[in-house]
Symmetry: D2
């Protein structure tokens, strides 16, 4: 199903080369002021063509709200939001109608559905994430009322890594085109992406996300743990291969006596001395910073010839064509934030029901 969330629930629709993509948001409480300029600014952070290190497809990603907002405020009715597709070049894809691009979804969609919209990846295109970013912007507006702040940034491109988030000034994230708040690291990352682009290749990276000011109590025990739902949200983004929060994979080498976060009474507030837990205990937020990493593979579309097969099973050579990102992580930053916002908005609503 194409829905995400339980109480703050989105359903996205649309293909890369159809007339439009969009989203229906169901469950947004009434009375929330909708700042359309903010939604647009979030979409612009994700849109193609925003810098030399992104795809050159031109979409202004302007949107129209069809329902659910009256005189600038949400009414409690579902909010439908539509973004037209304008700069699709379907003929760029006509040579792919009968072939399966390596590490793309062509083969699995064709087998699963018996047919597919081959133009630009159809439903499997990352263009779908524009709808998530628009919905995520509305979720952010809701979270802002509770003071919750979400900030993601590029922490790794190829083997180039930024220092830990606690050593960074995250307010500088948007000041570089690669969205790494550390200027020196950002410079190296941009140089690497440029080199990769010129060699007609692509490269992977990591986006780190930090959530501050979360109240204690978001997340549900057992299956809908806060980090489990965050993980699902992140893994549902195109090209994502891994998710870890708090101490993550590195934490497995620690002893319990090193890893445990002791509680202290900080002027009346219960806090922890360290935060290997990543702000989540037993699947429920404890008030400390929530932080997690999301691994993105190198983009599958490369400007090089590749061996493959066609729908008849014949082995063929696919030529690299079209307009694509050499590295997806700079544009993935607002998508990661959007999915985090959607998860938190949902749990914020759910948390209102935990006790009588």
């Amino acid at each position: 199903m194409n829905s995400f969330g339980t109480l703050f629930r989105i359903t996205t629709f649309g293909e890369s080369h159809g007339p439009a993509i969009g989203v229906v948001i169901d469950g947004c409480p009434a009375g929330l002021e909708i700042d359309e300029a903010f939604i647009q600014s979030e979409l612009s952070r994700r849109k193609p063509g925003q810098s030399k290190i992104t795809t050159q497809r031109k979409e202004d990603d302007s949107f129209q709200i069809l329902s659910g907002v009256f005189e600038g405020k949400t009414t409690g009715a579902p909010i439908a939001l539509v973004i037209e597709n304008k700069d699709q070049r379907s003929k760029d894809y006509s040579h792919l109608e009968k072939t399966f691009r390596p590490s793309h979804a062509d083969y699995t969609y064709q087998t699963k559905y018996g047919l597919r919209d081959h133009r630009g990846g159809g439903r499997s295109s990352a263009r779908e994430t524009a709808a998530r970013v628009a919905a995520g912007a509305i979720a952010k507006l809701l979270l802002n009322k509770s003071g919750i702040e979400i900030q993601a940034y590029v922490s790794q491109v190829g083997a180039i890594k930024a220092p830990p988030y606690t050593q960074l000034d995250l307010s500088k994230t948007e000041s570089t085109i690669v969205r790494c708040p550390d200027p020196a690291t950002a410079e190296k990352m941009i140089a690497l992406i440029d080199e990769v682009r010129l060699s007609r290749d692509t490269i992977g990276g990591v986006v780190t996300c930090v959530i501050k000011n979360t109240p204690v109590g978001l997340g549900e025990p057992v299956f809908d743990k806060l980090h489990a739902q965050l993980g699902k949200g992140m893994l549902s983004i195109n090209a994502v291969k891994g998710f870890e929060y708090g101490s993550g994979f590195d934490g497995v080498t620690l002893r319990g006596s090193q890893h445990n976060d002791e509680f202290v009474n900080d002027k009346g507030t219960i806090r922890t001395k360290t935060n290997h837990s990543g702000g989540i205990l037993g699947g429920i937020s404890n008030g400390e910073d929530i932080y997690f990493n999301v691994a993105f593979k190198p983009v599958a579309t490369i400007m090089q010839d590749q061996q493959s097969v066609d729908t008849e099973g014949n082995e063929v050579t696919i030529q690299g064509k079209g307009r694509h990102d050499p590295c997806v992580v700079p544009r993935a930053v607002p998508i990661v934030e959007a999915m985090a916002a959607l998860v938190l908005a949902d749990f914020l609503l759910r948390s209102k029901l935990s006790k009588i």
Copy 2:
């Protein structure tokens, strides 16, 4: 909510020190033969007290099926399965009634719900996973009809790592108490866990899971991608901090030209030359091996004194007491398999509806 899955859906219930834990499985098709001995054997792989490197709590974890099975076969009605708690020692926890154990869920539960069952962690106890293992065993019986095989093993304890799965004989997993199929690595792992146990501490680890013979077409586009749901399932297991599949976090350093899996025609079957994709393209299985890693933190309960606060906010010292695992991964192997089986069974049913 305490449910997992869309069409093959489980709901678990029960606390560590209540009369029983259990699970209701809804959506299992009628006509499946239920092999009770197999369910028991899966529970025995997870049960406490099975070896010197696990907790010494004694539970035989025998179960009773209350509904949904008639003359050895499922009827299509919900299957309720109950496991009694027998060896709980609630008095071991009386000193914890008013304190918050570091890196446990005590504080977040107390704040979220206004009260909590402090005995053995209550609902947040890993004892809940016995219900998942029982349900997962039934999911495995369903998957077996389609030839799908799931095998997990311990691939890392602390900094000790096993070779990649393609170099291992996974059928040997159960031959060592640490559930690592490589005898030399297993020996080192056991020695490390023993040392950690004697120092009254704990250590983390990684479980790797491999799924073979999956048909093409399992998983849904966009939010319910196969790996997104697998990730959620794994992250919902107690103590899990990270999930990666296929090339995972290491894949971010590769170029697209290295990472892409070219298609070939292998005697009439479309296969890929390499498998960085981990058997999943666009969220849908492509017929290759699915493999993923799950990171477990060191167990939070240690046999050492720790600083903390109580429910009044007073700073207190907590003494290490009770019966716990020095390293959770050996017993986590069947839990990882169970969650994988539940995810696959659900997608197997969903896949029957993808085309007319």
Copy 3:
């Protein structure tokens, strides 16, 4: 699926002649005091063998709570509640193993599932409703905190009808074995049921339910209208053939000018002069009494010979045997109340999220 409700959600399980039936309640807020005696008293209103006009199967319907309650209060964890089957007489059904009883679910279950538990109707037995009554009792405890009161009664047996509810003293409902609060009508109803029983036949009836003190705002627009979900809940009860609320089927003959309920300001409270709307406008409660009727067909099991076919398609004669109710409505009263309570508890929780 065997679940009902969105936020206050129950999942029932169990067959008529299995070891037990039961229910898992998920989403009950923490901190609710559980009055076990009240749950038992509700079960006793539904239990078989309570009077001469009900089936003589003897079940005391005692229950055990397995989880989710600690020191008398809900913890926010799922509440599992189990009721043992004790007086099943499966041999009474051995002659039915291969035949399809008229107007029972034998034929449709057999065809849908390929097999069935024929003993006592298996999953299709009205015994399942005991689990609903237990869950409904907990829902009532939650509703009581908001002052909401639910009272159902028998308003019709065969062609014998009670006066409208506004002319009745509903507190007298439990004073007659037929659960009609009007003594004169009750007497006639009991006489009719007795006559029907002696003629080895059965008869239908109507249960009316009245809900008082509902706050304004329960129910959701469009698909989850309050009366739509009430209707679904009632129609899901065994033997129900119809549902109407407010003016119901009779209202179709009125003109709008007669039917509309004009608003008045009653000492600061907005009220309506009449209540053809049945307390619901646009699917949302308006604070007036909610009232509705539920039609029950005559019980399908009769003590007479009937023509039918067996699983091989042979025409056969089925003899009337076993222990059954000549008229289901007296025992249906607590079931109707339970389903109403479950619907309202769910909407009460949902209503907390309608505005920021």
Copy 4:
């Protein structure tokens, strides 16, 4: 939530006077041919202004499909369908901004959400049902592949009733503007509606629906019984006050020996001699005709002065203005069919999973 259905799932959006209304259909299998002319013809059966006995608002209700269809066939991706609002006259409603119309949803929406779109009823307008009709048309295309046929008609207006459906030629339903297949009854109904319209009043009615050629096995036990979900779907339609299937409310006066439908072997097919069950046993279709009645109240908007209160609690007189239907049932016929189709399409998909 604004969604309906489990596997064939729709989400509608839009208000009466916003830019557009629409629907997203999720779960439609791939490969279904989409006949756009058929969808349009269904919308035209519902659209306003189609005859002298309907409202004179003019909407051509042309639609655009934004996604999920490629080269005339469904792709398995969500189908978004949008219908523009063109002839809204919001100024007709400016006098209602601060008043609560009797028997409308103004008061309950205002209280529930703290604000409301007062223009034309906003989200509570029956205009929303156009989206259902469009989605229902696609559901019908899916059902047609299985031979299932759905036909509704007007069986009652005020006190004027048509004969039982078994005595009617349903293919004549569209031949009269009131959609009653019996010409003599239709004439009387039209005369009554005309009289009501001239007296600036409204009148209620009943729509009967008949579903033929349903396979055995649609519907789920316990809560999601076929008739329970049909009932919910019907009760969710604006102005509906009651639902009954098979023998319905009249059946309560019968004895079991009269009401039971005996099985016979009809040349190898198991059939029933009578059909008081309305084609459903234990919540599951048995292959006989499914038939049910849906009661609609008189439209609340009348062209007469009415007493009411405003948002400040002042008592006010509301003048009858605007364009409305004197009787809703002729236009309700395609809506009833659409909801029936949506329910059946969902259960048809679910039925594919009942056995291994």
